[in-house]
């Protein structure tokens, strides 16, 4: 039977998709494999993909050398804390931008987004000094505050896009029915925007979990999350590729599991409400 054109292009696209995802995934696979090698094999000039002496030594070393669960807990507190705090601020902000628009709303949104385009080093010194003066260096509270501020523009934008899809008249009806603004948001807007809010929360947990610039600069030992824990294996006594890989895997796995279970929600969130 002759293959028709649409079948042919389907095969080509599938092969392409697999090829590209393979390329994207390969470094992660490499890290995963390296984490099971000895340090010697890890830096071998002739690396083998699967044929090496599998060992769990790196994991036990890493767990013995650093307080993994401390870092894990710091990551949880910082990423979830900053995302929740961000929602508390972003929801009213997005409400006013979506439903009480003025001439300047669009500009304000653009300006907020533009702060994401600046290199964070630009504000490094003032933030560092403020943290020092307020004794926020190496505290979870300090990082929650910074992560909230760093991700706030994205949260407001995402929520704004979701809120725009909610018919204005439903909110007006609630106003006629006697709702204060807080009641309107709580009883009508939030239930209707729940899928969007969940996506926003998830995405920001992931972004905050993976953030490395501020966490490396503003923490030392006490509040250091998993990103700092990974980094600690690339500095003091030289590079330890295998241990570094084991630490990375241990830092990635929790967020990978979260991402896996919330895949659908995330795809919806990232398409910014375009798919209903």
């Amino acid at each position: 039977m002759a293959m028709n054109n649409s079948n042919k292009s389907k095969i080509i696209y599938t092969a392409l998709a697999w090829g590209i995802s393979g390329m994207i995934f390969f470094p992660i696979l490499w890290t995963l494999l390296t984490s099971f090698k000895t340090e010697a094999e890890a830096i071998s000039a002739n690396p083998s993909l699967f044929m090496f002496d599998w060992t769990l030594e790196n994991y036990s070393d890493v767990l013995a050398r650093s307080p993994y669960f401390n870092h894990f807990w710091n990551s949880v507190v910082i990423s979830i804390g900053s995302s929740l705090l961000g929602l508390v601020i972003a929801i009213p902000a997005a409400w006013s931008m979506a439903f009480v628009q003025t001439k300047r709303t669009k500009h304000l949104l653009m300006w907020m987004l533009s702060t994401k385009m600046l290199p964070p080093v630009g504000v490094l010194i003032p933030i560092y000094l403020m943290f020092r003066d307020f004794s926020l260096l190496d505290t979870k509270l300090g990082l929650v505050i910074v992560m909230t501020l760093v991700n706030l523009p994205i949260m407001v934008w995402m929520l704004y896009t979701y809120f725009r899809e909610i018919p204005h008249e439903i909110l007006e009806a609630s106003r006629m029915d006697g709702c204060s603004i807080a009641e309107e948001i709580f009883h009508v807007l939030l239930p209707l925007a729940l899928p969007g809010i969940a996506s926003t929360l998830l995405l920001n947990v992931i972004l905050a979990w993976n953030e490395a610039f501020w966490t490396l600069i503003l923490t030392a030992a006490n509040a250091a999350p998993l990103t700092a824990f990974i980094a600690s294996y690339s500095s003091p006594e030289g590079l330890f590729y295998a241990k570094l890989s084991a630490a990375s895997v241990m830092a990635i796995v929790p967020i990978l599991i979260l991402g896996w279970f919330s895949q659908k929600q995330l795809v919806r969130g990232l398409s910014f409400g375009a798919v209903k």
Binding site: K103, I170, E172, A173, S174, R175, M176, G178, P191, L192
Partner: protein
Amino acid sequence: MGSITLKQVTKTFGDVNVIKPIDLQIHDGEFIVFVGPSGCGKSTLLRMIAGLEDTTSGNIDIDGQDATNTPPAKRGLAMVFQSYALYPHMSVRNNIAFPLKRAKMPPAEIEAKIASAAKILNLGDYLDRKPGQLSGGQRQRVAIGRAIVRQPSAFLFDEPLSNLDASLRVNMRLEISELHKTLDTTMIYVTHDQVEAMTMADRIAVFNAGVIEQVGTPLELYQTPINRFVAGFIGSPKMNFIEVEAVDGDPTSCVGVRPEHLKVTQDKGLWTGKVGVIEHLGSETFLHIHVDGVGPLTLKADGDCPLKYGDDVNLTAPQNKIMHFDAAGKTLPATPFSGN
């Protein structure tokens, strides 16, 4: 109580003056209809009365109290939206209960109110469904139910029937009129459909480009429109307008004859024309007649009108049914008209 007074009320969006200064007295218990072409500002004015739009200048009094800057929740008015605006995540029961819960009414009382609203509006079987599972007509009833349980001092309707199909629209029209008679509460009803306006209203306010052209009972507007716009807007089919040559001493620039007043005559008549398209409705017939130098005229005849396409006819109208308008469109006192 539900009397509403608009004093020199205006609204501008940016630089656009959407509502020119409007004065209007809405009496307690009356059914007033705002009618006018699309985009003339009816919804905007209704939303200003509701408190959903700010008032640029002027005052809105509700029951003698200045309510210009009162938030919507505190005005004691209920609104039924064109899109129904039901809460999609709540059951019909909770939709109707919502305003009562906000008012902190005791649960037993809320139950009683829901039961009575469900009875009036035939919603008993649907109370536990979500709005998404209802037909358009049922949603409309829920929206009305949510409005009546609060016992507002006035109801505001914004084109509530325009999303329904034609036969349902006639039914709901009757139901809303019936509801007005039962509740005896002020209703302000916005529509672009003059038939709805004529059939439902105690009084009609005819809007045009941000101003009220005329306020009056349906018959006043039909019989004594103050200008050409109102004359043309009220009545179906539309009034025929015939431009006339200016004559010294007579300011008439145009005369108007309603289709139902135009008659075919065996005499010479006022105009002569050729029958065009004929629309048979059974009970009546609309004839579109081409008159040289005047244009097409519409004539409403009996159901069994014997005329055919292409027939030559002479047309006339009783002198007291011919309206005169000046160049600005203002209605003039009737003067004898003898053709042009």
